[in-house]
């Protein structure tokens, strides 16, 4: 049995989802000859470190009761640089201004010889090529499947299953909150403000929804796609962004009468990066409803491949993280 030691940096919904899925899939993973051992967990309050393996259920319970996982005063930086392990799972919240604290966590990890798996979009939207280069220079893995499309495996699909194809373009819906709002507005003929409020009450939209509804989150994901799939060294500032706040129920109704739905579509291809509301024919594979995400990849050999699935959620995101972790475990 190969033991792979990892740390989880950031213990919110995603970090806890990773812990839960490692717990529930332990037997399944062991059968593949791999033993995942979490030796450290960090959140903003501090760390828990145990080189024999942390009691994950205990950590989740403590986080719930006290608000932090911390049992010692060490920082995430100490955990990443001083505790021996192979993989850090970076799951701190996305910050699009300077990428912190995720960016520094990732740089520290790559500098101290640790592979990085992340769900954090901010550092990738700002410094993708630096991070990738650093990982390559140090012979380390840098994987980020869960940053785009949640559970939908876009990067693994393109880089592995579709290896040999040249990707001509990608179009997709990469923000579940916007998709939910537009779907509800069209179905119920309700104005934007009302549906936004409903989404906030359901926990689908944040109290400050700017990041989602102005297309910023979608743009970050598009930047990661552009860097990873098109090898374009672009950043968030290179995306032409239009959000959904001006869309009226009447516009959706007019579109519907003519067999269209309106979706916030991310487009990459032809050297342009756009996030904007678009008309999608009702029976088109991109016309998915609710909070679903979808990506349609146009390639030279395979033609068009479209995948859709859950774009958010603690366990769904952990699914992508776990696949990255297992990829490293099998190949290192």
């Amino acid at each position: 049995m190969k033991t792979i030691r990892l740390s989880i940096i950031g213990f919110g919904a995603v970090g806890q989802g990773v812990a839960r899925s490692i717990l529930s899939k332990q037997g399944y993973i062991n059968k593949q000859g791999i033993n995942l051992c979490v030796v450290g967990i960090a959140d903003s309050g501090g760390c828990e470190i145990d080189d024999k393996g942390i009691d994950l259920m205990g950590a989740i319970t403590r986080k719930k009761q006290t608000g932090t996982v911390a049992t010692c005063a060490e920082s995430a930086f100490d955990l990443i640089s001083n505790v021996e392990h192979e993989i850090i799972v970076e799951a701190t919240p996305t910050n699009i201004k300077d990428g912190e604290p995720g960016l520094n966590n990732m740089l520290t990890a790559l500098n101290s010889g640790k592979n990085v798996v992340t769900s954090n979009k901010g550092p990738l939207a700002l410094r993708f090529s630096d991070l990738k280069e650093m990982a390559e220079d140090n012979g380390l893995f840098f994987r980020y499947e869960s940053t785009v499309g949640g559970a939908v495996p876009i990067f693994n699909l393109v880089h592995e299953a579709m290896a040999g194809n040249t990707v001509i373009g990608i179009e997709g819906i990469l923000n579940g909150t916007c998709n939910y709002i537009l779907t509800r507005m069209a179905e119920e003929r309700l104005p934007y403000e009302l549906v936004l409020k409903e989404a906030q009450e359901l926990g689908i939209a944040e109290t400050d929804p700017t990041y989602d509804v102005e297309g910023i989150d979608s743009a970050c994901k598009l930047v990661i796609i552009a860097n990873s799939i098109f090898q374009d060294a672009v950043t968030y500032r290179d995306v032409d962004i239009t959000g959904i706040t001006k869309i009226t129920p009447e516009a959706l109704e007019l579109a519907s009468k003519n067999n269209y739905v309106v979706k916030l579509i991310c487009e990459a291809g032809n050297g342009t990066l756009t996030v904007a509301p678009r008309l999608v024919p009702k029976r088109h594979p991109l016309a998915v409803g609710g909070t679903l995400n979808v990506a349609s990849i146009l390639t030279d050999l395979a033609g068009r491949i479209t995948i859709s699935g859950k774009g958010a959620g603690s366990i769904e995101t952990a699914s992508s993280i776990l696949s990255d972790v297992l990829h490293i475990a099998r190949n290192s």
């Binding site: 001509i168 373009g169 990608i170 179009e171 239009t242 001006k246 869309i247 009226t248 009447e250 516009a251 109704e253 007019l254 579109a255 009468k257 003519n258 269209y260 309106v262 579509i265 487009e267 291809g269 904007a276 509301p277 678009r278 008309l279 999608v280 024919p281 029976r283 088109h284 594979p285 991109l286 349609s296 146009l298 068009r304």
Partner: protein
């Protein structure tokens, strides 16, 4: 120019070739042929719809050649606007002079607004419009979209265009 013609052929073998060869002789580029064998006219002839691209100067010559060979030319029409796109506009569409917005497209000579539906929920709320623009070709359509994008930007209208890569459907 692109021409669409309805021809009437006698119900005997070899008539379709008779109808098509003058078009190629005059360097026309045939784009589609719809041969409705089961739909006879009261005269007992078979109607055929042909669309082709041809130099306008040889059109009369073509019609003459067709009639001489016994093919009846029932209808000749110019297929001017061949490419279309659907759009949605949101904003103060009326008060930002909708007439001018449409004129900007119509005045190009190669594109027209061929359909328009409006929804104005209340005086103090923004309006929404669905419109279809047709143009003489794909290139012209692209150009007309660029014009409208510019107009929408200046008039602070949100313009929702169709998806691009995948627009032809599944």
């Amino acid at each position: 120019m692109i021409v669409s013609m309805t021809l009437e052929l006698k119900d005997i073998p070899g008539q379709l070739v008779l109808a098509l060869s003058p078009i190629s002789e005059l360097h026309g580029n045939i784009m589609s042929v719809v041969h409705q064998h089961e739909e006879k006219t009261p005269r007992g002839t078979i109607p055929v719809q042909i669309t082709f691209e041809i130099d306008q100067r040889v059109l009369d010559e073509l019609i003459e050649r067709l009639e001489k060979s016994g093919v009846r030319v029932a209808r000749v029409g110019e297929e001017r606007l061949r490419s279309s796109v659907s759009l949605v506009l949101i904003g103060h569409i009326i008060h930002s002079d909708i007439g001018d917005t449409i004129d900007r497209i119509d005045s190009t000579g190669f594109a027209e607004v061929v359909d328009l539906s409006l929804s104005m929920p209340a005086i103090d709320r923004t309006s929404s419009a669905y419109l279809v623009i047709s143009a003489t070709g794909e290139k012209e359509l692209k150009k007309s979209l660029e014009i409208l994008r510019d107009v929408a930007d200046k008039k602070d209208l949100l313009m929702i265009e169709p998806i691009r890569l995948n627009s032809e459907g599944a």
